[in-house]
């Protein structure tokens, strides 16, 4: 199994541009998550999904959108990039929501908005 994969690894955006961060998992996990990690900080939850067709907001959803059309994929969309969205983005998946079982993380996407 490849686990959780994310693309791209790095990206530089100009203010106002849009992009989609891709996330795919091959472990047949129902639950998937998007986090952002600012320098020297912990992870903050942006959005999560408990299954295909179901998504919900996390702690910091503003400026982002998600969709979950399949079990495997959970893309994160930035519509109007802002410098405050400069961060490292991690996708994760798990068998059961939250912490009853561990979350498996992808390698991250480092995004810079200038």
């Amino acid at each position: 199994n490849a686990g959780v994969t994310q693309t791209p690894k790095f990206r530089i955006l100009k203010i106002g541009q849009s992009m989609t961060l891709q996330c795919t998992q091959d472990m047949n996990h129902n639950y998937m998550y998007w986090y952002r990690q600012d320098p020297g900080m912990g992870l903050k939850l942006i959005y999560y999904s408990v299954g295909a067709g179901i998504t919900d907001k996390g702690e910091v959803p503003n400026g982002y959108n998600v969709s979950r059309s399949t079990t495997e994929d959970f893309p994160l969309r930035l519509e109007l990039a802002a410098p405050s969205q400069t961060s490292v983005y991690f996708c994760a998946s798990s068998y059961v929501q939250g912490a009853k079982y561990e979350q498996y993380f992808g390698p991250g996407t480092r995004l810079t908005v200038t």
């Binding site: 020297g40 903050k44 939850l45 996390g58 991690f90 561990e102 991250g108």
Partner: protein, 112 residues
């Protein structure tokens, strides 16, 4: 504000010594905690977890202790190795919010 926090942002230990990383939490209703290890440029990796009905759990070279009275948990790493150098996060599960809340992390550096 931050409700899952760490007492020390950095910790430097000698190779072979034991390491202790601390974490405080504020929500007494939290019923599950996880320690993650994050190496530079990588995503967090699960180390060990503990439920609130336990006060100690052991893994391979790692032990997590939970003190519910003072809302504190710690991660102990025995015989610390250079490969243990990383940032360590504790995460708290709050059933009402349905997700993990991460602390800021402690950077562990192992001196040869």
């Amino acid at each position: 504000g931050e409700s899952v926090g760490l007492h020390l942002p950095t910790l430097s230990v000698q190779e072979g010594d034991n390491s202790i990383i601390n974490c405080a939490y504020s929500n007494s209703a939290s019923d599950y905690f996880i320690w993650y290890k994050q190496e530079s440029g990588k995503g967090p990796q699960f180390i060990i977890d503990i439920r609130s009905n336990m006060d100690k759990r052991q893994g391979q070279r790692v032990t997590v202790l939970l003190n519910k009275t003072v809302k504190h948990l710690s991660l102990q790493i025995a015989a610390t190795q250079p490969g243990d150098s990383a940032v360590y996060f504790c995460a708290e599960y709050r059933g009402s919010q349905g997700n993990l809340i991460f602390g800021k992390g402690t950077k562990l550096s192992v001196k040869p």
